[in-house]
């Protein structure tokens, strides 16, 4: 099952950080691809590509002006505070095994999406954040397994620690140097 995330109505500058968070969340929590619509924004695309390159995995990002084109061939799940509770619908959505397109809007969403979507799904019917809605949805869809995903060919990795930070860089010159010194001591 492929899972793509469509970010509707991106506005340059204003949405820069939130759209970046949407895309990085999609990547970290197991989606395969993000598609941006709205204003074209090289800086979002570049920073997501940069993270994907350095942190590994196969996550893709693309831009599509005509967002309706992207709905074809997918089961479309529109995340909206007006929709049906995620906890009532997630089993049905997961079972279908169809490739999914998860749609998250920015502040204003074209009305048509409510009818074009196969599901309108709410993560609570309270106002909060498209990043939060996407997180909970992906976490429920993948049943927590996404937290253990491996990202292959990473240049940079973190070793989980109780305290402090431990970063491992592939070909890390400092570590190589230390190892050589150890060998000769």
């Amino acid at each position: 099952m492929k899972v793509k995330v469509l970010r509707l109505g991106h506005r340059k500058k204003r949405d820069l950080r939130l759209t970046t968070h949407v895309c990085l969340t999609a990547r970290a929590l197991g989606a395969n691809e993000a598609i941006l619509s709205g204003e074209k924004d090289k800086s979002v695309m570049d920073s997501v590509k940069d993270v994907s390159k350095r942190w590994g995995g196969k996550f893709k990002i693309s831009y599509e002006k005509n967002w309706k084109k992207t709905l074809k061939n997918y089961e479309v799940v529109h995340l909206t505070m007006y929709g049906e509770p995620v906890q009532n619908k997630i089993n049905e959505i997961r079972k279908s095994k169809k490739d999914k397109l998860i749609v998250v809007g920015s502040e204003k969403v074209p009305k048509e999406i409510y009818n074009l979507a196969d599901y309108n799904i709410a993560v609570t019917n309270q106002p909060h954040s498209e990043v939060a809605a996407l997180s909970i949805f992906l976490h429920e869809l993948f049943q927590g397994k996404e937290l253990k995903n491996k990202f292959k060919n990473a240049e940079i990795k973190i070793k989980p620690k109780k305290q402090g930070k431990k970063v491992i860089r592939s070909g890390d010159t400092e570590n190589i140097f230390k190892r050589i010194i150890k060998k000769f001591n």
Copy 2:
């Protein structure tokens, strides 16, 4: 068990929207209070207060310049990509029943927090979003029950729908008018 969320190092303007998303996510997903630290920012405080007033419930927001003061009397959980996997630690954290302070940083986090926290917890060791990390953490802490929370004394509510939008306003004049007309027809 009380759950508060501390947003460290807020920067006015730059973090306006993300900090607002952090606070609204905290509210929607069952936390009792948000505490802001960093630059004082009336517009974030006001918009969160406004949502709480209109959408109901008892969520609070406050500002504290000296963030270290807020750690006292709480079990402190710092969300960081460098920490231990949430899935390995959440049962232990939930079991303790102690009041929690969940700390989410902005771009730069004071080093001390890694030692002052009882737990440094990672929602994946990948770069993504403090809003995503907070969402998954709260969802795991409350085991999904938070999605069914009721917000009392709301002026505005949503009736979940398969398609479209249905908003209910308490004392909504249009609806009252319709009911009166119906009665006399």
